[in-house]
């Protein structure tokens, strides 16, 4: 009796809150299990995938800079730049390379977010809008794996939403061929469910045409020429429905201020100037790393950093009459207040040569050196589809007139009123035609993160790095090792089943 009296006193004095159930009510936080309720939620989660794509670790620098440096079109300018970049360029990568350790997780974050959308969509009543979002997520998942499989070969392949990450901690790598098959399946599904155009004709989200264009690219990489030809010609045949055409002026492709919704863009990665989110989201450094030290331009009064700079031979071997050369390079600018030729570029930084202009000269709103630029990076454009159609057409024996017709469409635009480059004659054929198309790709798509993949798929490494006409000689290039990058050591440390490391590392 007395005891219960004390208990009562305790309870009264113990405070009004003593009956708290200790439940958490996380105001302002979103839970995956309750997030997906409407098709709009599925779309919102789909849009989240782009935050990782347009981030410093993927398109803002780490992936794109690596692809540039790995090729014969971009060399290291300033040799004081961090070793991890030089190692990519010089074929001296270690397993602890700081570039791979950034874009590997960056690409997998895209994949994880895409898997969350595909899983979450099952909680929402099915509709065309939901299917379109799922198609978009599958496209983006395929897009990320397409980079990974080309860079690393056999890789861990995850296609489900992870609720128990420990359970996948001991999985093995999936063979590259199987990864490619999954990529194709995703792109086929995307092609089936995506609309012909996105609202407002924007190019930063995929359409049926984007999926087809990437199918063409994947099949081309695999040497599945008929399929590549079919997909590329599908895009070309439906170009009006998709809204694709070449820009009249090649220069208009590389101006941040007019880059939104360009008709030639099939898929673009959009950065908004002077803004950033957490974790490197919307952070772009490609402008400064390709720009020139101690040079002032209208958009970049502080100049860039001269990190990725084409070798002199890239410039000198490119015909001066080609309008695309003028657009692709800056070879004169204001140095220390004086308008000067490239010989005066980057004093103290060892790269007095023309720099690339595509991402630096007109990088739009930025913080003064093109950092946090406003660039839209084109990942796939109509000119490339024409060249894929030409290359695949040549391989499958399409009519010669049709094949050179695709190339000449690209060349005509490149002439921009001049008479260079001339049309290709239909008489050219065989390996000569293929070589010509590869050369056309090298120039038309110069510095656009395509060249390394072309070198790899055409096995050109020994020729372009060790051959007599090498633009950027690397005598240590090892075709048994360097077509693949090493898997990040941290990942091997965490999951021993990912062994073996790629050969030679």
């Amino acid at each position: 009796m007395k005891f219960s009296y004390y208990l009562l006193v305790l309870c009264l004095l113990g405070g009004v809150n003593s009956c708290s159930d200790l439940e958490e009510d996380p105001v302002g936080l979103l839970a995956p299990e309750s997030f997906f309720r409407t098709p709009a939620d599925v779309e919102t989660a789909t849009l989240g995938i782009y935050a990782w794509l347009a981030s410093e670790s993927v398109y803002g620098r780490k992936l794109t800079l690596s692809l540039q440096l790995r090729s014969d079109m971009c060399d290291i300018g300033d040799r004081n730049t961090p070793g991890r970049r030089q190692n990519v360029n010089d074929f001296e990568m270690g397993a602890d390379n700081g570039m791979t350790s950034a874009f590997w997780p960056g690409l997998y974050r895209m994949i994880g977010s895409a898997n969350a959308v595909i899983d979450g969509a099952t909680q929402v009543e099915d509709s065309p809008a939901v299917q379109a979002s799922v198609g978009e997520a599958r496209f983006l998942r395929a897009y990320a794996y397409y980079h990974l499989v080309r860079l690393f070969g056999d890789i861990p392949y995850i296609d489900f939403f992870i609720t128990d990450p420990v359970a996948i901690g001991s999985i093995e790598k999936t063979p590259a061929a199987e990864v490619y098959a999954n990529i194709i399946a995703d792109l086929e599904a995307a092609k089936a469910s995506l609309p012909d155009s996105q609202p407002g004709g924007i190019r930063t989200r995929p359409t049926r045409g984007t999926a087809a264009a990437y199918l063409a690219s994947v099949h081309m990489t695999l040497g599945q020429w008929q399929a590549a030809y079919d997909e590329a010609t599908f895009v070309i045949a439906n170009r009006d429905a998709f809204g694709y055409r070449l820009m009249d002026d090649f220069a208009d492709l590389f101006k941040a201020r007019i880059a939104d919704g360009l008709a030639e863009h099939i898929f673009a990665v959009d950065f908004l100037g002077n803004e950033s989110g957490g974790g490197g989201q919307n952070v772009d450094w490609m402008g400064p790393v390709t720009g020139i030290r101690q040079v002032s331009t209208a958009d970049a009064p502080n100049g860039g950093w001269s990190v990725s700079v084409p070798s002199m031979l890239v410039y000198t071997t490119w015909d001066d009459r080609d309008y695309r050369k003028e657009v692709s390079f800056i070879d004169s600018a204001v140095v220390d207040g004086v308008y000067s030729g490239f010989e005066k570029f980057a004093p103290n930084h060892g790269s007095p040569r023309p720099h690339m202009a595509k991402f630096f000269e007109f990088c739009g709103n930025n913080r003064g050196d093109c950092g946090f630029s406003d660039n839209n990076y084109v990942a796939m454009r109509y000119a490339e589809i024409l060249l894929i159609a030409a290359e695949a057409g040549a391989e499958v024996g399409a009519p010669a007139g049709e094949v050179v017709g695709y190339i000449n469409e690209v060349r005509e635009r490149a002439r921009f009123g001049s008479d260079f480059p001339a049309d290709v004659e239909p008489s050219i054929s065989g390996s000569e035609l293929i070589d010509l198309i590869m050369e056309e790709r090298r120039l038309e798509l110069a510095f656009e993160f395509k060249r390394w993949y072309d070198i790899k798929r055409r096995n050109l490494g020994d020729e372009v790095f060790k051959g007599p006409s090498s633009l950027e000689p690397h005598p240590n290039f090892d075709s048994g090792r360097d077509y693949l990058m090493p898997i990040p050591q941290d990942e091997l440390d965490r999951n021993a089943n990912l062994a073996p490391q790629n050969p030679g590392y």
Binding site: V9, G28, E33, N80, R84, I111, I162, T204, P347, G368
Partner: protein, 1001 residues
């Protein structure tokens, strides 16, 4: 005059009579009361030496005096009064005047300070009844030299407590560890309990009466899920019935940075650069950047305290002001506080009280310990350029990234914090029955902070955006209500105390941040965010956590010799998932007071000899709210030039997450010898923490980076020894306190036994790879990397490996795996940041009116990993270097371990930048002089002491960085465990010279 004054003061203390008598006092004061008698005499110790400063008080009144240099006193009393003679370290004596006019007294040294009362959780115990491991720190130690916070004052004062500065900046925090870190990813910070308020921040040092550090499970289990890392109990000063005491403490300190790095001058720098880049053009300046950012710092510290009261109402009122001008331009800190502690005896059975603290802290900061650190930039910036270029703009670095120079970074940005704290507690203590007390407390605190940051257009990265500013506001609230019953009963041969209670605490925090760019002018700083035209995306958030607890304790003592304590706390918290919210934390202890056994009592040698053994479980729930929930977060997505709503998964759920639990065994002994002249406390402890809360690095192919999990175990074992000796007593007094502690930290288990690697370097020091590893069998936070083997000489066999040096003069690393090449397999553990032992030694000397205090503190056997020197001395031409670069390898200087200058050299985590961080430091030396009583009386003062002190005057170390007492990324929860002994561009610690005065009225 004096007598009248004194009598009036006595009367003041008799409230009922005061009003009436004050009117009459000017006329008849001397005539009031029974016969007045002048009594005098001499107070000595048992050796006949006079005791100076003995308090002589008339019992039940406020009248009193102190003995002078010769131990003499004189006092006017009533013939029937009783005198109380009290003196620290001696037993108090009561002597009835009985009409005598001369009374000499011999004071005996206190048998031990045994019957001091020690504050423990939810109560107090006599020191002799203590069964747990508890260290006490006295108020005089806490205020021995001016400190912004009491954490700093605790350094070196208590065995088993390690305190290091996270950064030397004014107002910066400290890393506090009690018996090592029990965790890897959850916080290992102890919990602070201030006057019963769990989780409160520390009050100003001057307002602290004592600090008790609860270390073993017997003492800490009463705090259950928050006890695993020790409990620091702070008791603030309170009023005593009787004489009103007014105290004024003031000091002024001059400070300088403790050290500088020796860097290359302009010519040396140019010579070094030219070896890498033959086209290097030397600038026309020779700038010592350190000289430009450092200045003389100063600290002013004031406290005014008034305390006193009657038998019914007692009060302590205090105001403090602390102001520090940092040793780097534009950095400062100030603190104002007001404290009011009131105790009211409302009735015979009811006591109530109120504690209030209001505090304001203002901090202006410069960037340190990060990429834009003014210190780091002062080190690495080119010395051959001046502050401004020909156009009058601040210069930028030329040779690597174009960062601002150190003067620009110091002068231009504004980074200001204002924090307001208000804390209030009320308590009521009601005696239900004789021996049965009910105590209820209600405590609330709010902590509101504002950080404003502005980076003007004069700084380069913002040149394009015309300034950027932001304001971040945060509000934190803590509510705590506790009610408990205490039952005490004395039996003939035993004592029993029972405690049972309930506690509920809620903590909420909120924040918002807004910002803008492209300002009309830099003049408004962040105070006019509307003056910009490119707002950044605002953000806000809120979190809340609850903890609900039942507590119980039984203390039983038998024959004053055998002591038993059983403690338990049943805690529930909202931060874990359903089914894992509640857990019980029990402990038990026995102690045997051997000195009171007849066989020991007879010997007379030991005044105290107590064995203690305790075992118990305590917890750590130090994870943030909502950590068990899977989450989608807003992400930044742009489509067609427009920001769109987008979310992405950022965390996975973990419903199995539960408490970290620490089991702890403690065996201790307290020994007092020679009537307490020597007091020794020794403890051995062994702790094991299991179910570690750990951010497990996930495979990156999962798309997540980490998952909070209960994995693994960590152990801490150690020995603590604390010795207090009164080496000399009498006119010349010499006391020594030595505390020394060892702690061996070891990871006992990790998931699947896998190593966990991580890198804590600043963001711009790229390409390093991992610099630390968590490995079973090793302590937390050991350094990891290549073993540096000096430089390659001409003709040496080069060990090949991707991007390793291959030229003579290049860095040479050991091929540990022996496979003939250098790669990541060749990385090993290259250093251990944990000390073999830490210690503090205080020596106090007093002779007549002089006192001298020497405080040495140190750490032995710990390694330091210097990212600072790694950056400077890479010698790849990226920045300036230390003068070690003068000894770099060249074809004509081959007998060296410093590599040649070589562009493009990759950064490596290696033993080259790991150093022995042992040190011994003369932390404080203080010389004081107290004015004699005769002089004091003339001014109506009870105490006037002036002192000079010097802090960090001498340091003995082999460390090559600027200071071995380093902390980098060591603040906060997980990083404080994993980042130990790292050094990067910290705000320097300081040397200080203080002049101060303590006045009592």
């Amino acid at each position: 005059m004096y007598n009248t004054y004194s009598t009036v003061r006595r009367l003041w203390a008799t409230p009922l009579l005061t009003c009436v008598l004050l009117l009459a006092s000017s006329l008849t004061a001397v005539a009031i009361g029974p016969a007045v008698l002048d009594v005098s005499g001499r107070v000595t110790d048992t050796g006949g030496e006079p005791l100076i400063g003995v308090t002589v008080r008339v019992k039940s009144t406020t009248a009193g005096t102190v003995t002078d240099l010769d131990g003499l006193y004189a006092l006017s009393v009533d013939a029937t009064d009783t005198l109380l003679f009290s003196y620290t370290g001696f037993a108090t004596q009561e002597v009835a005047v009985s009409g005598r006019s001369s009374i000499d007294v011999v004071l005996e040294a206190d048998a031990a300070t045994l019957d001091e009362v020690v504050v423990v959780g939810y109560g107090t115990v006599k020191k002799s009844d203590l069964t747990g491991a508890v260290s006490s720190v006295k108020s005089e130690e806490i205020t021995a030299y001016p400190t912004a916070s009491a954490e700093q004052a605790l350094q070196g004062r208590a065995a088993g407590v390690q305190i290091t500065a996270n950064n030397g900046a004014p107002g910066a925090g400290f890393r506090v560890r009690v018996r090592g870190g029990t965790s890897i990813n959850a916080s290992s910070d102890p919990i602070f309990v201030v006057d019963g308020f769990v989780g409160a921040s520390l009050p100003p040092p001057e307002d602290i009466a004592s600090i008790e550090v609860l270390k073993d499970a017997s003492a800490t289990a009463i705090y259950g899920s928050r006890g695993a890392n020790g409990v620091i109990m702070v008791t603030t000063k309170r009023g005593q019935a009787g004489q009103t005491r007014i105290e004024l403490n003031s000091s002024y300190t001059l400070q300088n940075e403790i050290n500088r790095l020796e860097l290359l001058n302009a010519d040396q720098f140019a010579a070094y650069q030219s070896e890498i880049n033959p086209d290097f053009e030397q600038g026309d300046s020779d700038t010592d950047w350190q000289d430009l950012i450092f200045r003389r710092g100063a600290v002013q510290n004031y406290q005014l305290g008034i305390s006193g009261g009657s038998d019914n109402v007692r009060y302590y009122l205090s105001g403090t002001y602390f102001q520090q001008e940092g040793v780097i331009v534009n950095s400062d800190y100030e603190r104002f506080s007001v404290t009011s502690n009131i105790d009211i005896t409302a009735s015979e059975r009811l006591n109530v009280g109120l504690n209030l603290l209001a505090k304001r802290e203002n901090t202006n900061s410069v960037a340190t310990q990060e990429t834009g650190s003014v210190i780091g930039v002062a080190y690495r910036f080119e010395p051959d350029v001046g502050i401004r270029d020909a156009q009058g703009r601040y210069t930028l670095a030329r040779i690597s990234d174009r960062f601002n120079n150190a003067v620009a970074l110091t002068n231009e940005p504004r980074d200001q914090d204002n924090v307001d704290q208000f804390r209030g507690s009320i308590y009521g203590n009601y005696q239900l029955l004789p021996g049965l007390d009910l105590r209820s407390t209600f405590n609330a605190s709010t902590n509101n902070g504002r950080n404003g940051f502005f980076s003007p257009r004069t700084l380069n990265p913002d040149a394009g955006i015309n300034g950027s500013g932001r304001v971040r506001n945060s509000r934190n609230m803590s509510l705590l209500t506790e009610t408990y019953l205490t039952y005490t009963r004395d039996f003939s041969a035993s004592n029993l105390t029972l405690l049972a209670g309930y506690s509920y605490q809620r903590e909420t925090s909120e924040f918002f941040v807004v910002g803008n760019r492209n300002f009309v002018t830099d003049a408004g700083y962040f105070f006019n965010l509307g003056g910009g035209s490119e707002p950044t995306i605002p953000n806000s958030g809120r979190s809340e956590s609850d903890i609900s607890s039942y507590i119980g304790r039984i203390n039983y003592s038998l024959n004053d010799r055998y002591l038993f304590t059983l403690t338990g706390r049943y805690d529930g918290t909202s931060v874990f998932s359903e089914g894992n919210k509640w857990a019980i934390f029990p402990s038990g202890a026995v102690a045997w007071n051997m000195a009171r056994e007849p066989f020991m009592e007879d010997s007379g040698l030991f005044s105290n000899f107590k064995w203690r053994v305790s075992y118990g479980l305590t917890g750590n729930r130090a994870i943030g709210p909502y950590s068990t929930l899977a989450r989608f977060d807003d992400v930044f997505t742009v489509q067609n030039g427009t920001i769109v709503n987008a979310v992405a998964p950022t965390a996975v759920a973990n419903n199995d997450l539960t408490w970290e639990t620490t089991s702890q065994l403690d065996i201790g002994v307290d020994i007092g010898i020679l009537e307490g002249r020597i007091n020794l406390t020794a403890d051995y402890y062994s702790m094991e923490t299991y179910d570690l809360l750990f951010a497990l690095p996930l495979p990156e192919y999962s798309g997540y980076s980490t998952l909070l999990s209960n994995i693994g175990r960590v152990g801490n074992k150690g020995v603590e020894l604390s010795i207090d000796t009164r080496n000399l007593v009498g006119a010349f007094r010499w006391n020594t306190n030595l505390n020394i502690s060892t702690n061996k930290n070891e990871i006992l288990e990790l998931p699947e036994g896998n190593d966990i690697f991580y890198n804590s370097g600043p963001g711009h020091i790229v390409g390093l790879g991992n610099t630390q590893v968590l490995r079973v069998g090793e302590p937390v936070g050991v350094f990891f990397g290549f073993q540096y083997d000096g430089v390659y000489q001409q003709g040496d066999d080069i060990i090949p490996g991707g991007s390793f040096d291959t030229e003579p003069g290049g860095e040479r690393y050991a091929d540990i795996s022996g496979d003939g090449m250098l790669n990541s397999d060749d990385r090993i553990i290259i250093g251990n940041p944990h000390p073999d032992f830490i210690f503090g030694i205080t020596n106090e000397f007093a002779y007549r009116n002089f006192d001298l205090n020497l405080f040495l503190q140190g750490s032995q056997g710990n390694d330091i990993y210097s990212y600072t020197l790694l950056e400077l001395d890479l010698l790849a031409g990226l920045n300036n270097a230390t003068t070690a670069a003068l000894d770099r390898w060249t074809p004509s200087n081959t007998n060296t371990n410093v590599p040649a200058a070589q562009g493009g050299r990759s950064r490596r985590s290696s033993s080259r930048f790991v150093y022995d961080g042992s040190y011994v430091r003369l932390k404080n030396v203080a010389l004081g002089y107290s004015l004699p009583a005769v002089v004091l009386d003339r001014f109506g003062l009870s105490r006037l002491r002036v002192y000079l002190s010097a802090q960090n005057l001498l340091t003995f170390t082999d460390y090559e960085g600027y200071d071995p007492e380093v902390g980098y990324r060591s603040g906060g929860g997980s990083s404080g465990n994993q980042n130990v002994g790292l050094d990067y561009a910290s705000y320097p610690n300081v040397k200080g010279f203080t002049v101060g005065v303590n006045v009592g009225f």
